[in-house]
Symmetry: C2
Subunit: 233 residues, 2 copies
């Protein structure tokens, strides 16, 4: 279990750089039910968000982990709030955000949800069917629009033009930092142990090379702590 | 691990009732991609199909397991074909069905697939979006319509009027047996270790009480073997 080993080694490198800091992290996919059996979801395993929660705890932070459905065991000392849909996640985040210093939105939140949620399993009678979807609330933008807002870190998982999309998202949603990563490749992204990220602020783009998600999470948390302390200095 | 224990105990009860029999079993959900990141799927864990594969091997059968994406380890002696979408599963089944004596369709196959599969991640720009879906081929019906057809066992997972829907499916698709189970409750069905089933033939309905899926699978395989041998006597 190299991942567990990395987590164990990580405990030896406690930095306390986030001691006394309240952090909320969202992780995993959301599940948008079409009926009691079917739903729309995505390939997020939750690994990156859970690794960041672990790394933030190691750095001394108090962590609230708002998680969509995953198969992962959360870090021991995290406060965990389990949710299913994007609407659930939005409500759970808003309910608990007021005393948080840092918000890291890692969850792969569904952009849209089906208008109708059938209480009974849909029967297949027609040759074609259409699903009408409406936009979900934007959790990250709603958190960043608070006054005062916590220090906001977004994730942009894109299949193409990753950095351009990520910078657009940073500016549009008024984020402090955005971690851009390329998904859909075979080497990094969803459901695999390694990841590579470019951390983008208004001033700079810092590439963090491909590595185990737990190692990457510790690097990211160190960078986030540095930017957070600079902003609040 | 009670499930593994049940599997181990099962090995002591080898019946050889299916010795020399070629069985194909489909298991798990299918994943119908909306784009490289998102897709439509269902709550099937694959447990029931994998348990049936294990029980059939214990009964002496040679098993081909055609499986959608699951987190399970397949039985050691099964020939495993991994697939993603309903179209993949249909192709894999049809490619390999000709020498099979028994077909058991346990997979929770998506009834519909999106017409468009975007190569790039869909951007959220509109307030509403519609997904147009077309019907997938009916794997079970296509297998049962072969001439000669293997002995065909279907599964009907329903949230309401379970037995009536199941009997309709048995007749419409010309199956030999159908295993009807109620899903959406908290005690049986998808993603939980226990299940209860009513096994329906043209003549009778046999309730198999709620129990561990491995124990239930052995009962089901014994019933299937009995019906198969009666039909071919």
């Amino acid at each position: 279990q190299p991942v567990d080993l990395a987590a164990e080694i990580g405990k030896l490198f406690k930095t306390e750089s986030l001691s006394g800091t309240q952090i909320m992290i969202t992780a995993g996919p959301t599940w948008e039910a079409l009926d009691p059996v079917r739903g729309i979801t995505n390939h997020s395993s939750g690994m990156m968000g859970y690794a960041l929660a672990q790394a933030a705890i190691e750095a001394g932070a108090q962590v609230t982990l708002v998680s969509g459905p995953t198969a992962l065991t959360p870090p021991e000392r995290a406060k965990v709030v389990n949710v299913v849909s994007a609407l659930d996640m939005h409500a759970a985040v808003m309910q608990d955000i007021q005393d948080k210093h840092i918000f890291i939105g890692v969850a792969a939140v569904a952009d849209y949800r089906p208008v109708d949620q059938q209480g009974q399993k849909i029967k297949k009678s027609q040759d074609e069917m259409t699903i009408t979807m409406v936009k979900n609330p934007d959790i990250l933008a709603d958190v960043a629009a608070r006054n005062p807002a916590p220090f906001c870190v977004g994730f942009a998982a894109e299949t193409n033009d990753v950095e351009a999309y990520a910078r657009g998202k940073l500016e549009r949603k008024k984020l402090d930092l955005i971690a851009a990563n390329h998904v859909g490749g075979e080497q990094t992204g969803f459901g695999v142990p390694d990841n590579a990220i470019t951390l983008i602020s208004a001033e700079a783009a810092t590439p963090l090379p491909k590595q185990n998600k737990y190692a990457l999470a510790r690097q990211l948390i160190a960078e986030i702590a540095k930017h957070y302390q600079t902003k609040n200095a």
